[in-house]
């Protein structure tokens, strides 16, 4: 019993939740602001979900921006045209992400590697073009502005005003916690074991008797629904939806974030990657207008020098990076395994 409690307290996800609970108060001390903190949370949901597909199943999708954007547009249209309930919009956006993910998944689930990447880019671009030219629904180039952050809660019991950025942060935080717990459960379930096995050797998994295409398809749908969910929150954060988030270069950013943080080797890699990426982008884009040059060269440098990502780099036994590991080992009193 005591052991169970101590394991729950030392559970790494809990540390992450504690960190993000105080994040908006620490962040301004080092020059950040709450809006950026909220953006970090939203993109973390997006990249954590994406990592089920990339890090665990081993499928590099370049088209998830489409589901992110679809989530936003569905929420926008529901709030502006159908019903002014944020929950309805968020749920509908998430389902829309899952639905379109399921359709695209039918085409791509049997592929892998480069061919998979190529197909997801093409399908992602198709959705982008549709969003870009379907003016009556998506507003085309101008996007869909005027989305309101209405109070949320249970009618008659309580309600939270989300128009304030700090309270909106904690609204996202609530969803973030649920999302991370769900993703943790998914990747540590038997299903999670099978998709990891597919990543290492799909043919062998197939020979054991698993329908690998079905597993890959499911993994695709799960990650697409998290992309849809994050898209709805991003729309609320920006008070608007634009089709630029659906472009393949944006989908490529998600891939980069996961690799940068070390999502290929560590569950929390995407969160670290998101923080580093968004903060760097914020810093550099104020300094130089040619941020994309730095960014492009940075990607190349990461791939060449630290392909295992930040957490992967720290996990290797290297000098000072070992220190936190010693502390954790000491606290846990047993050999630390991630």
């Amino acid at each position: 019993m005591k052991k169970n409690i101590s394991r729950a307290i030392l559970h790494p996800t809990l540390w992450v939740f504690v960190f993000f609970a105080v994040f908006p108060f620490i962040f301004p001390l080092v020059g950040g602001y709450t809006y950026l903190a909220a953006e970090v949370l939203i993109w973390s949901i997006y990249t954590m979900g994406f990592n089920i597909l990339l890090g665990y199943t081993g499928l590099p999708s370049f088209g998830h921006g489409a589901f992110f954007g679809i989530g936003g547009f569905v929420l926008g249209n529901i709030l502006l045209r159908v019903i002014d309930q944020i929950w309805v919009g968020i749920l509908a956006g998430t389902f829309a992400g899952a639905f379109f993910g399921a359709i695209v998944g039918l085409f791509v689930a049997k592929k892998r590697g480069i061919y998979f990447a190529l197909l997801t880019i093409a399908f992602g671009q198709m959705f982008w073009f549709v969003a870009w030219s379907w003016r009556s629904v998506t507003g085309g180039e101008d996007g869909l502005p005027g989305i309101d952050r209405l109070p949320v809660g249970i009618p008659g019991l309580f309600s939270v005003d989300t128009s304030n950025i700090l309270s909106f942060y904690y609204f996202i935080y609530f969803i973030f916690v649920i999302a991370v717990i769900l993703i943790w459960i998914v990747v540590h379930s038997p299903f999670g074991k099978v998709i990891q096995a597919i990543r290492y050797n799909e043919i062998r998994v197939k020979c054991i008797g698993y329908n690998t295409a079905l597993y890959k398809w499911t993994s695709f749908v799960i990650s697409a629904s998290f992309a849809g969910l994050a898209g709805t929150l991003y729309a609320l954060l920006r008070y608007a939806v634009f089709s630029d988030v659906m472009h393949w270069s944006q989908s490529g950013n998600v891939l980069l974030i996961v690799v940068l943080g070390g999502g290929m080797v560590n569950f929390f890699g995407p969160i670290v990657g998101t923080m580093v990426f968004l903060i760097l982008r914020d810093l550099f884009s104020t300094v130089t207008e040619h941020w994309y040059l730095i960014y492009g060269l940075m990607i190349m440098a990461i791939v060449v020098f630290i392909p295992e990502g930040i957490l992967g780099f720290l996990e290797k036994d290297r000098g000072i990076a070992m220190f936190p590991k010693y502390v954790i080992n000491w606290v846990r009193g047993r050999k630390w395994k991630s």
């Binding site: 061919y115 093409a122 399908f123 549709v130 270069s249 040059l293 060269l297 990607i299 791939v303």
Partner: protein, 291 residues
Amino acid sequence: MPTFIEFITQLLNGVVVGLLYAIIALGFMIITGVMGVLNFSHGSLFAWGAYLALTLYPIVGFWPALVISPILVGFIGIILELSVRKTYGKDPLYGLLLTFGAAMALEEIIRMIWGSIGRSIPAPDVVRGPIMIGLIGYSKYRLFLAGLAVLLIILTWVLLEKTYYGAIIKAGAADSEMVMALGINLNRLRAFVFALGASFAGIAGIIAAPLWSIKPTMGVEAIMPAFVVVVIGGMGSFWGTVIGGLMVGIVTAVTVMFMPRASLIVMYILMALVLVIRPRGLMGEKSILEK
């Protein structure tokens, strides 16, 4: 409804643009085949070809620019190949990301040197203006473009199918380890192939320049049709790529006449249809890239 003559003209336009797509896609496919890398920067190399021609045009004229600019782009390709080298033998994801970064950097360098404003270069005097074919007046430059594209396609086919080097390139795509074991310098082969593919993108960029406006985003706009063409034709298939290019060009051109708004989306619909019927593309075979 468009008249018969308009229809024929537009159909010809489709064939011409389709041949151009085929050239871009062929260069892309040659690189992908041998490297096992989706070269995202292919579109940027295409844009570099056009921009280098923009600078060279006033100095040396169109025809020398048509030769010099692809060679320079080929050198950029070799530099890229040197940086991609680190990712051989790893998850293809890293090669993808590396060229993705290179694409961004190359496009931003274009913005820094030439600015973001759209430019254009005129067609050379010899092939300017219309020519009469029967009842239809057609642009001489487009015909010239089509001829050049066909010539390039034939030359590539001869190189790949009828020469010693072509045999090595194809063998390298199928089993690079075996090629190395036979005593062939694989590094040099890869650099050569990357340079060849890059200069293909460069040539396409220059001949497309008088047709489309030159702008920094032209690379991104050109690479999408190339991806789609390769998927439709089937990865690794030479004639599949050519046919795919023509199909995309013609279908897009015909759609422009009847439903202009759908013209950008129609190639993706075509792709989805082809994939439903033939999951590996029209003439695709099982290849190492699916591993």
